[in-house]
Symmetry: D2
Subunit: 442 residues, 4 copies
């Protein structure tokens, strides 16, 4: 692999892409990218053009030579690729907003990776991802797929179960946790080892090894004081149950608030929905502003405003991951990969999010100490939701969907679920061909 | 054990007792009861007297000689007992009503064996039960404890984990299912084998073996038609999600409605609470009427009205269990006992509700075929709730309580749970000495 | 199934058959057999004729009317059968003797269900059994297969894994244990519950429930005194390691001597081989004598001499099993059936030998309490040997065979195993078509 | 820990020590050793003096300043130590020779970490090691114990189960495998990742990651050609069963020959015992020669002859491990540590030998992909042997010893085991105080 690398970005018109460009520019010496292909769909043509122009200006500004190409022809882009970054959003932000609003209408938390919204997102995204993978098997069988399309854990599980593509799922949550911890313990990145484990958006930091001691309790004390730099800046403030955390011996990621403080979050979401708008709506407005900024022909670097967007460090993580693979760096990163016994009590073939050594052959997960039984039960429950959702998304199996959703703690069951599910599928029918039978029948 | 048997009833003043008397009368030939001791507390003295008089009339009416004794001195009763039936209610129906009302106030389903109410009931009941067991270890170490005090599964787990008493937990749910199935398939009891498995109030019929075929699908078809004699008469009508059940390959007990139709049940409970009253309130009124009937000096048999009470067949099951043990009958009954691998995926030392052969040495559980993974996850989750609740009840450990409640699908979490939990403990402080530290501290 | 039953015996010319006839005669009232088909192969024609004549005399003697038919046409016999008893011996006793002699030649214990001999027997027997099952699927799909062809556990596993036939494996070892226990504790059969668990020829009695107490330690004391009626009469005396048994808390079956006293048994076998002959040779001579007795036209009952043959109670068990199924007796018997979690730590789809309630729908295993870890390890090891041997027998996979044999504690490994294995296959090539490739290649 | 380090060597008079000295000299820059304490017992005084003089010459020769101290007072040495290297041999080589001869006398393979010899060695070594650990808890509670005293896996398990000492077990087997693999694939150490897993002397290389591909099959091909640099030079040549290895998908360590070629090894050992002597006897002669060389006052470096000794790279590994801990190197090394789910199917609290990242906080094991079932069964069996042996060694429990030995594939059972065990204990009574009760009683 000493040739110049070809990198393909599916969903190249995403507002995150400038961070990715910046990451590639910063690693130009260690990661010799020759071509960067931005792929998007018809509807995203304008946005991907804006991104492409900005990318070119950013690269030129640094005096580097990475060729930036834009295309709507995915096969053309994939041919001979070395790395494929998947960051598309099926149905765009409108679909996310619809998910949120439907969930709220039926009294449930609306969220793009969990609950009813997570189900909808998975059902829209997985079929397209599998299509991409079939093309990869043909056109670039040795390429790595770096998935950060949400729901990242379920999408990666679908790829690893149903295709032969070498895939790794990524998320910015552990990256933000790591940076927050660095700040609390006053250490440089790489100076300490944070080990996380769980599922995507359902992880706990299990160890924080620094200079011969485990600093977990120091970090916990800081969090309990309300000083919590581990929480992504786009998440509104909330309170952990203090006694619970004190007793836990591990640091939950911010998304655990859906389980530990479900009612508070429900109320918060309802207030937001009636006020500034749902998270999707806020992001949509933000994106509009971002693209206005990106259009500026004077702009030749990643603008500050992107940091508020929420996906912070996603692309940074992707670039670091590509470099770690390419250079066999054996850095510890936190990725979604096949379980294979890493977390005891989960099937071998499911996908988990765990700290791993990144090699040229892919991730080698660190072993995870057994979880306390109650935490394990939550992980097992949510993994079963995910696995049934993947099955439903691949096969169009409504009963599998329902069996999964019934387990999910943030989903209401009964008549209301039947109705919410029907509405979800109906409103998304353009993106869920696997469920068209439901409406053909009736 | 060829002597005449001594049977002790803790909570002898219960409105159920006449069914128990009837059961003993019907089995007089096979189960030679010499003395029946009805034990109650000061507050229940009047009720236990009424029951005792009725019992004596019933026995005399049949010309039998069982001595009926009433006492408030539990140790006196326990000395040399052969069977101890536990059917008391700590805090009486008022406590149950309080549980229901607090749960509803905080937007949660109110229920005496599950959720916040189940937690409260366990915390009131388990300390007293362990006290009784300590006395049994001293005064009647060979006696069997037949527990049908709710929450029956958790109470039995506490006894088996923390004492040396030989205990079996009982519930009328499987009995009613068996009778309903007999009706559907047109078979006599004992003619077919129904195998159930799960936890107390969380069981599924796994097999219905009759004349060489498994009649499960026949029973399921009937249930899906809305003809469901497996549901206790005291439970108001509700609808199972049809497609879910069709796909399930096993018959859920009625209490599974809390998981499969949570929102419908929540609404139903709220309507009841605003209308005829909560279940506890309805039962309280019913009990009052029952005791008026029991007082009638002409009455010398179990009155028809008792059947509407809800606990139907409880006492019947208890009598049959005593006879099965005494006579080494090896009948298949459905009991709460130590898991020991019966249900794969649960700890050996937890208590499960499973079909078992009843011998003079106690129950020998039938092996349970592996559960589908999603159902297993629900069972594991609820068992963890139960185990943490038992721990909380025994040790007064509030964090254990919270860790358990957070897992429970019918419990809301966050600020609301903190408040609901605090109110629950405060209102029950007379019955929850283990949690007094919470209010001493502050 | 109120018609008159058709029973088929594969290997009808076996010297055991008179016991089977006696068993059917004794159960004539409860098990209405109309036709008894004795099937054998060309080489066994004379013997099956002798048996058939004896059977007819025995039936006539009692004035019953069971039609006895002899055939070499298996399909004719199987058509419409209700029960198929499999008790054939592929390669006859000569094959068994060859197995024993080859094993001994290479310094290994020679045995028909274990080690190299067990491997050879499985590879001869399983292909024929699967052939029979294919015919059963076509000609009598509702019939039960009662297998007591050795190695019974592996043969039953092959049937349950590779066919749709309803099969139960039987062995006389637990029957003899039960009778020995009855003698020690002075109880009638059916009066107590003996629970065994493990694999075929690798079981332990785990519970001996009698009149409200577990008599296991009483039985153990008697065994340690050297008074051991649990050991089949055909097994020469040997000594259990006393301290090991005292500590064990369960009663091992006689075949466990291969693991607990391997060297003693090896020496015993070598002495026998140089003296009176191997077990197979002794049996062969005995059989010759038996058939001389059977020929006697005056003989109209099972002769006493059969009892020394070794397979005592096999056929008795088979008759009782047929009756238990036919009459839905729900008797506790000890059978080889699908594990399904009965013994924790073994795969669901493997076959185990466990005490079960026999119903018209087949066996319902009693749950088995967790084994001590060291015993479990031995069971897991031997089950893996069995599973790999079944795979080798079905697929002709020599590496699977070797992987299995290497695990087996009574097998020597290395050059010697390669040679012993090659000789075994070569000498049995007529009965092991699946391994012919080995000699075609070279 | 920026002070100058104090390193203690228990068994400082070992012939290996010069390699350790060389390792410390080579790492002087990264591992600032101030004091090196060589501890030995009275009987080893002369040898430790010789070693000490040689060490001083070696250090002086390089112009470094590490203070070398000799003492028989262990407590003095341990006080304030940073690293404690345990490499003593309880009973010296004479005990090892005795073990070998007793095993052979009873027809069993004689080996210092396995079978009867492994049991004897564990029972001599573990009590002393626990004594050392008690002293470490008091005198240097923060020190790391690096154990390479055999049987290294069992000794480390004893320490981690029964003390609070931070301990890591080491072996040279994986080091030699890694060097052999480097040679075959033509890569530098550190350039590729070899992942091993199993138990001490029972490991398999599972992955050989080099430049983006797994070179395992390339290495396997070379081994099958008979070119096997992975086998320690002190092990006489033997043949792997070719078809078995081809099928295995992982590379067994040389000690697996005891299981895969047991009979060949038995014969080899018997021939050696009758010829050049047992391994222990050969080593004893070699050691004598080595000490003659060490005495030479001109000698100021590790002599070439040491390489033939067999323990090659042991001390090298120890030095590298100390440096990895001290410098938080996060190098992948292969160590004995607590399982905690690393190998699925083994208890959490047992010790396994697995590739781990070495941090200042100790080893972080890499997750191990599930083993094929037959290999897992062997590992589980041998771990149970080890765990029971540790229990026997700590408690003097003879039945535990026997239960463990009966499982061990290289142990004969029955009368012969009783005798061999009795002789073993009797001959070692000076070193096995825990078993003195056996001879007091009789």
């Amino acid at each position: 692999m000493n040739k110049i690398l070809k990198i393909v970005v599916i969903g190249g018109g995403s507002s995150y892409t400038p961070e990715l460009i910046e990451g590639l520019i910063n690693r130009y010496e260690e990661l010799p990218v020759g071509e960067l292909w931005l792929v998007d769909i018809e509807d995203g043509h304008e946005k991907v053009q804006i991104i492409s122009e900005l990318a070119k200006r950013m690269i030129k500004n640094k005096g580097l030579c990475i060729e930036v190409k834009v295309t709507l022809d995915r096969r053309l882009a994939l041919e001979g690729a070395d790395f494929v970054c998947s960051q598309f959003r099926a149905g765009c932000l409108d679909a996310r907003i619809r998910d949120e609003r439907i969930s709220l209408k039926y009294g449930m938390i609306g969220q793009e990776t969990n609950g009813l919204g997570g189900f909808a997102n998975a059902c829209r995204t997985i079929p397209i991802t599998l299509e991409i993978c079939k093309e990869m098997e043909e056109l670039c069988p040795d390429a790595w797929l770096l998935n950060f399309t949400n729901p990242s854990g379920m999408v990666t599980e679908a790829v690893l179960k149903y295709t032969n593509v070498k895939a790794i799922g990524l998320c910015n949550v552990p990256v933000i946790m790591e940076k927050g911890i660095a700040q609390i313990i006053g250490a440089d990145e790489g100076d300490f080892v944070m080990q996380v484990a769980g599922l995507n958006h359902l992880i706990w930091a299990r160890k924080i090894l620094h200079n011969g001691t485990d600093k977990l309790s120091i970090v916990m004390d800081e969090i309990l004081k309300g000083n919590d730099p581990l929480i992504p800046s786009n998440i509104p403030p909330f309170n952990w149950p203090q006694d619970l955390l004190k007793d836990m011996g591990m640091i939950p990621c911010a998304y655990l608030r859906y389980y530990y403080t479900s009612d508070d979050i429900m109320q918060q979401e309802q207030e937001e929905a009636e006020g500034e708008g749902t998270r999707g709506e806020v992001v949509k407005a933000m994106e509009k502003r971002l693209f206005d900024i990106y259009k500026n022909p004077e702009l030749a670097e990643k603008p500050k405003e992107l940091e508020k967007r929420g996906g912070q460090y996603y692309s940074e993580a992707a670039c670091e991951l590509m470099s770690s693979i390419y250079n066999d760096k054996r850095k510890i990163m936190h990725v979604n990969t096949r379980n294979n016994g890493t977390i005891s009590g989960l099937p071998d073939d499911c996908v988990v999010e765990v700290s791993s050594i990144i090699t040229k052959n892919g991730p080698l997960p660190l072993n995870v100490d057994p979880f306390p039984c109650d935490t394990l039960r939550l992980i097992q429950l949510m993994k079963e939701f995910e696995t049934l959702t993947v099955e439903a998304a691949v096969k169009g199996d409504l009963v599998a969907a329902k069996r999964g959703l019934i387990l999910n703690p943030i989903v209401n069951t009964g008549t209301i679920l039947d109705e919410a599910l029907k509405e979800t599928v109906k409103e998304n029918l353009d993106y869920m061909p696997q469920f068209r039978w439901m409406f053909e029948k009736s």
